[in-house]
């Protein structure tokens, strides 16, 4: 059963209905028994049935209010009526009597349950008769329709128990049915109308419906008491109460519209109050400071975060002029002018945008805040809402980052200047050393002996070697500064080009280079070519003395990267030193074994990293090496 009604604000409640099942059962049974007892006082002899049975209305009302689960109480109530009104002269209180009483009770309970079911299903109102809709249909379902149950069950039971003869069946059934139907028609709406806690219109409506009801009912009852004979009594009761029911229906419909409207109004008001409460709670508990001002610039809302941010408690802040509370003095004029301009033109540079400005704490401290202001029309004036937060921390971090960037930039410039000067100034003396040694060698050869010439050779060789080191270092430093120009690359073509260069540098050596199918990649052409040049030059260099030297270039693509390897059958290396392989000036062989500057693989690694890739190497001394690199698929992120 819907419990929505219990949410109605308490000021609208007249009293309380029991909420626990035992209380509801007790109330239902008692109402039924009392109503039944009173009704039987008016029973029209000689039948068992009475011409009006309000208990049927009470039972239905209880089912509608409490739910179908109270049906056992109806059985008990009905049973009690039978016990209570039993004429001691009519025979022994034996088992068959109990069975008959229980069966009649079950009929009454089934009827109330059916009535409740039909009404709930067919009427859209939360509680039947609470509005103006479906009143007539509700009355028909509650009365003539559902009351077919109890009369049929009861009279059939009596017939089966031998209390009435077959000839009396029709008349008893009819009386029973009419009595129940009228009881339900009259008393179900009345009870629902007055049931405490169920609001269906104000007192005015209740009285408008109830007073005519009761007057009619009293009149009918009065007439009935004076009536002479069976037929007259029956006619007065039946017609009178039917009229009462119709009058009630009319009144219910007339007043129901207003009641429904009022009901809806209450519901909406309550919903609105809840929504407002929620909105207030959201604003109040927000981590963003919330401040609202009116057109005069006075603070009208001030949440907890605003208290924490600006140091003013809400009661102090409310009503204060915003400009004098959180705006630094030097910005106040601009604030007032902006507000005035907005009120005059409906436009303002700060409204509706995210802005940063200085805020003022109560203790006089100024700090940066980020805020958004929205303007809302309030009648013919405006309110301004602002969400804001302290961004001191962010500003500090930003300044720190800016400082670091500047430092970094300066360091970069310094490095560049350094590189430039290395490039110029370090090479000049070297050129002189080599140049003059060369001239000496050429012009003074006749005056030098073999050892003298050898020593000059050493001087020249080392000058050239130093030059190579400088060149490589400069190349390495250029790699960090040069912007990548990404294009799709035919890796097999690049590898073949580099292989041709490398083998050309070692003429006469038996070298076999096999370049397999290589997946393409995205990268900077000249840089990736440098990678291949270094890898293949290394492979050629370290296979010196092998016959034949075999260099295999392979590639494969995985989900995330393309991987390329150059494998040779050369000198190899000890895996313990694999990490050193890619370091600058790190060499695993002596200059006598293999010449080199120790920069080549550092260049390879730098280029791979700049493309978002990686390098790897594997080898064993004397058994060759595999050195390779991987690039992210689709190019650097």
């Amino acid at each position: 059963m819907p419990r929505r009604r219990t949410e109605v604000p308490s000021e609208n409640r007249v009293g309380r209905l029991p909420r626990s099942l035992p209380g509801q059962l007790l109330l239902t049974a008692a109402l039924y028994a009392v109503a039944g007892r009173i009704a039987l006082l008016m029973a029209i002899p000689p039948g068992y049935a009475t011409a009006v049975w309000p208990a049927a209305g009470f039972a239905l009302a209880c089912v509608l209010v409490f739910g179908p689960r109270v049906w056992p109480a109806v059985v008990v109530g009905s049973f009690l009526v039978n016990v209570w009104t039993r004429d001691p002269s009519s025979g022994a209180w034996d088992a068959p009597s109990v069975v008959v009483a229980v069966a009649i009770g079950c009929g009454a309970a089934a009827q109330a349950a059916l009535g409740g079911f039909l009404l709930r299903r067919s009427v859209e109102e939360t509680t039947p008769f609470s509005g103006d809709r479906g009143v007539l249909r509700s009355l028909i379902l509650a009365g003539p329709v559902s009351c077919l149950v109890s009369s049929s069950a009861g009279v059939t039971t009596l017939l089966a128990a031998g209390r009435i003869g077959p000839g009396e069946y029709a008349q008893n059934w009819f009386t029973w049915w009419v009595g129940d139907a009228i009881g339900a028609i009259v008393f179900t709406p009345l009870l629902l109308l007055w049931a405490p806690g169920l609001r269906r219109g104000g007192l005015a409506r209740r009285l408008t419906v109830t007073l005519p009801f009761l007057v009619m009912f009293a009149a009918v009852t009065g007439l009935f008491l004076r009536a002479q004979g069976w037929w007259e009594s029956w006619l007065i009761l039946a017609c009178g109460l039917l009229l009462t029911g119709l009058l009630g229906a009319l009144l219910l419909v007339l007043t129901g519209g207003a009641a429904r409207f009022e009901d809806l109004l209450h519901q909406r008001t309550a919903a609105l109050a809840r929504a407002e409460e929620r909105a207030r709670a959201i604003v109040e508990t927000s981590h963003e400071a919330f401040v609202a001002i009116n057109a005069e610039g006075r603070i009208t809302q001030w949440n907890r975060a605003a208290e924490a941010t600006f140091g003013w408690a809400a009661p102090e802040a409310l009503g204060r002029v915003l400009a004098e509370t959180i705006v630094p003095p030097r910005l106040r004029t601009a604030h007032r002018e902006g507000l005035a301009r907005f009120l005059a033109t409906g436009e303002g540079p700060v409204v509706g945008r995210r802005i940063e400005m200085e805020g003022l704490h109560r203790d006089g401290r100024e700090f940066p805040v980020e805020l958004t202001i929205t303007a809302l029309r309030a009648g013919d004036s405006w309110v301004f809402n602002a969400f804001l937060h302290d961004i001191s921390e962010r500003k500090r971090a930003q300044r720190a980052i800016e400082g670091k960037s500047a430092e970094l930039e300066a360091a970069n410039r310094e490095l560049e200047a350094f590189t430039y000067s290395v490039s110029h100034d370090l090479r000049a003396p070297l050129r002189a050393v080599e140049g003059f040694a060369s001239i000496l060698e050429k012009d003074f050869a006749p005056r030098l002996d073999g050892e003298g010439l050898r020593l000059l050779g050493v001087v020249r060789k080392n000058a050239l070697r130093m030059s190579a080191l400088i060149e490589d270092l400069l190349a390495l430093s250029r790699l960090g500064r040069q912007a990548l120009e990404l294009v799709p690359l035919d890796m097999a073509a690049l590898a073949r080009e580099a292989a041709a260069e490398a083998t050309a540098a070692a003429p006469g050596r038996p070298i076999r280079v096999e370049v397999g199918d290589l997946p393409s990649a995205r990268g900077d052409r000249s840089l990736v070519l440098q990678v291949w040049q270094n890898l293949l030059a290394n492979a050629v260099k370290f296979t010196c003395g092998r016959d034949p030297a075999v260099v295999e270039v392979t590639g494969r693509a995985s989900d995330s990267e393309v991987v390329y390897s150059v494998r040779d059958n050369g000198a190899g290396f000890d895996m313990r030193y694999a990490e050193k392989l890619f370091g600058v000036f790190q060499r695993l062989h002596t200059q006598e074994e293999f010449e080199g500057t120790g920069v080549g693989l550092a260049i390879v690694q730098r280029i791979a990293h700049r493309h978002g890739g990686r390098v790897f190497a594997e080898g064993r001394p004397g058994e060759g090496a595999t050195v390779g690199f991987a690039l992210p698929r689709g190019g650097p992120a």
Binding site: E434, L464, M466
Partner: protein, 144 residues
């Protein structure tokens, strides 16, 4: 007969480099009509004339170092290429630097060739000799 016209102006501040360059040119028999100046200011005085004195000569090719005292090579190049009288003289920039910005700047200014001086003397002699010869041949002026 007046003095033979100067064919090559060598602008080089380092004596050692100048000596090597001269030697390289001499090995190619190009050294007989060479004038060497030591900085950018001297080079400009020679080519464009100092205040109060006219230009000293019009070489057939200028070998210009970039890093020079007083007025640097880039500035010399700019002024030479901006002047009507000297605009057509081929200028070969000789430098230790392979730095890209030098390269781009000198090409922007209309340099005719750009040679990075290698450390190895043989390569150096080769490069200087080749270029000197190339530009001398290309810029051969009709004899007097």
């Amino acid at each position: 007969m007046t003095a033979e016209p100067v064919e090559i102006l060598l602008v080089e501040d380092r004596d050692e480099d100048a000596e090597l360059a001269l030697r390289a040119l001499r090995e190619r028999n190009l050294a007989n009509k060479i004038v060497r100046v030591r900085d950018g200011a001297e080079a400009l005085d020679y080519l464009l004339g100092a205040p109060g004195s006219p230009a000293k000569g019009k070489p057939r090719v200028v070998l210009l170092d970039l890093k020079l005292p007083k007025v640097d090579g880039i500035e010399v190049l700019r002024r030479v290429k901006a002047d009507e009288r000297t605009r057509t003289i081929p200028v070969v920039v000789l430098t230790s630097s392979r730095e890209e910005r030098d390269l781009v700047r000198t090409y922007d200014l209309g340099v005719n060739s750009f040679v990075t001086k290698p450390v190895g003397f043989e390569e150096f002699a080769e490069a200087v000799g080749q270029l000197g010869l190339y530009w001398l041949l290309l810029n051969r002026q009709p004899g007097p």
